[in-house]
Assembly symmetry: C2
Homo-oligomer: 218 residues x 2
DNA sequence: TGACAATACATAGGATTCCTATATAAATAC
DNA sequence: GTATTTATATAGGAATCCTATGTATTGTCA
C-alpha cells in the first residue's frame, strides 16, 4: 500500500483500505460476541472452525495455518478451550505424534449462542442488494483463490478447489455450475467458502476448473 | 453467523466468512511488513493512519476509535512509537487536556518502507478485472457507510460523507459524480475511503447525498 | 537395519497487546 | 463556585503471540 500523503491512492490501495475498515469492525464485534460467552476472539474463531469441521477433529498445525498464527500460540488457545471443556484432544491413530482436536457438545452450544448475537457486519452486508451480495461473494472467492495460490493462506475448502465442482456446464445463467456430490445445479450466489463435503482436487484439475469458472465472468 | 453443521450457511454468512479469510491474510501480512521495520501490526496501523492525516496530528481518542480498541491500549502503542521516535506529541492549543499525536519524518519514512514490501493481498486484488475492482470498491463503501450508520465504526473520511460530494450530477456513466473541492467529475472507481481533503457534511446532507448516490445503482 | 533428518506438539521465557478501574487535570454546566 | 464531563495517563493483570528449544515419533537412505 502506498502511503504518499496528499496523493490519491490507487484503486487497489483503496480497496485494501476498505477491507481493513471492515476487518476492524469485525474484530471489534468478535470481541463482544466472544466476551458474551466467556471467550476471546481467537478462541471463538478456533471453536467455530472446529464446529464447522464436525467431530472428525483437526490437528494443531492445521488450526494454526487457518488462523495465521504460530503453532505454540495455537497450543495456548486450544489448552484454554480444553480447560473450559469446549474442545477435546484425541490421539491420532495414524500418527502417534499428532493429536486430533474436536469441539465437544458444549463447544457446539457455545458457538451457536455466539451466532445468535446481533452482528453489525451482517446487517451491513444485508443492506446490499441480492445481486450486489452475489457479486461481492464471487469477488471474494477470486481474491481468496489468489491468496491461496500465492501461499498466503492454506488451501480453502471452497467449491472452486473441490473435486465435485463442475463450472459453467449449464445454460441457466442463474445456475451454470454443478456439484457432483449432491448432483445439483447451482449459481454464483451458492458458492461455498468452507464446505463440509469438500474434497480437494488435484492442482491441475483445480487450475483447469478455475479457467473455466473465470471464463464465465471476464 | 449461523454455525449449524451440515447446513448450508446463508449468502450473508458466507460473505462474512470470505471477509474473515481475507482479513486473516491481511493480518498475517501486517505482521511481516511491520516486523521488517521493527514494529508490530498495531503500531504500523497507527503510524499509517497518522501519516495519512499529515502533520496536523490526531488525538489519542480519535486513534483509539479508528483502531477499535480502548484508549489505554492506544496510549501504550503511541508511547511505544514515541520511544522509537516515529511520532511526536504536541500540546493542543485549543484544549490543555488534549494532545496532538503526529508522525515524524522518521515515521513517514518507516511507513514508506513498509509500503514497498510485497503484498499478497494487493496482488490478489490486482487479479480482479478493473470493472470487478470498481464494483468491489463500491460494495465496500456501502458496507462501511452502513457500519458507520449503526455506530460500529466512527465516521469515515469518505466521499459519501463529505460536504464536497455531489453524487450523480453528470450524464457520463464513467464519471457521474462531482467533487466540489477540486471541482472535477469522477466515477465509482475514484471513490475515496479516507480522503485528506475530507470535510464532514451535516447528517441530513449526508443522508440526502447517500440516497442520490444509491439511486445510481439500484 | 541404523543413523540422521524431518515432523508434531509441548514448554519456557519474554514482549506486547488489551482489558477494566482509577487518578489527574482541564473544560464545561449549572 | 461546585459538580459533572472530558482527555489522557497510570496501575494491575490476563492473554495473545512470538522465538527458541525439548521430546517423541516418523520418514529417509545408505
Amino acid at each position: 500500500m502506498s502511503n504518499e500523503p496528499d496523493a490519491t491512492p490507487s484503486l487497489v490501495d483503496r480497496i485494501g483500505d476498505g477491507l481493513s475498515r471492515v476487518a476492524t469492525a469485525m474484530r471489534t464485534e468478535a470481541w463482544t460476541a466472544a466476551d458474551a460467552i466467556g471467550l476471546n476472539p481467537t478462541q471463538l474463531q478456533i471453536l467455530t472452525f472446529l464446529v464447522a469441521r464436525g467431530r472428525s477433529g483437526m490437528r494443531v498445525k492445521q488450526i494454526a495455518a487457518y488462523l495465521g498464527v504460530s503453532q505454540p500460540t495455537t497450543t495456548d488457545s486450544v489448552n484454554a478451550l480444553l480447560r473450559k471443556g469446549l474442545v477435546e484432544k484425541q490421539a491420532d491413530p495414524s500418527d502417534a505424534r499428532a493429536l486430533s482436536v474436536a469441539a465437544t457438545p458444549a463447544g457446539l452450544a457455545a458457538v451457536r449462542q455466539a451466532g445468535q448475537l446481533a452482528s453489525a457486519t451482517e446487517d451491513a452486508i444485508v443492506s446490499l442488494s441480492k445481486l450486489e451480495q452475489q457479486d461481492l461473494l464471487v469477488h471474494l472467492v477470486k481474491i481468496i483463490r489468489n491468496l491461496q495460490t500465492t501461499g498466503a493462506i492454506p488451501e480453502q475448502r471452497m467449491c472452486v478447489n473441490c473435486r465435485y465442482f463442475r463450472p459453467n456446464v449449464h445454460d441457466d445463467p442463474q445456475a451454470p455450475h454443478h456439484c457432483a456430490f449432491v448432483d445439483a445445479a447451482f449459481g454464483p450466489a451458492q458458492l461455498r467458502i468452507d464446505c463440509g463435503e469438500y474434497d480437494g482436487a488435484e492442482p491441475e484439475t483445480q487450475q483447469a476448473a478455475w479457467r473455466v469458472f473465470n471464463r464465465g465472468s471476464p
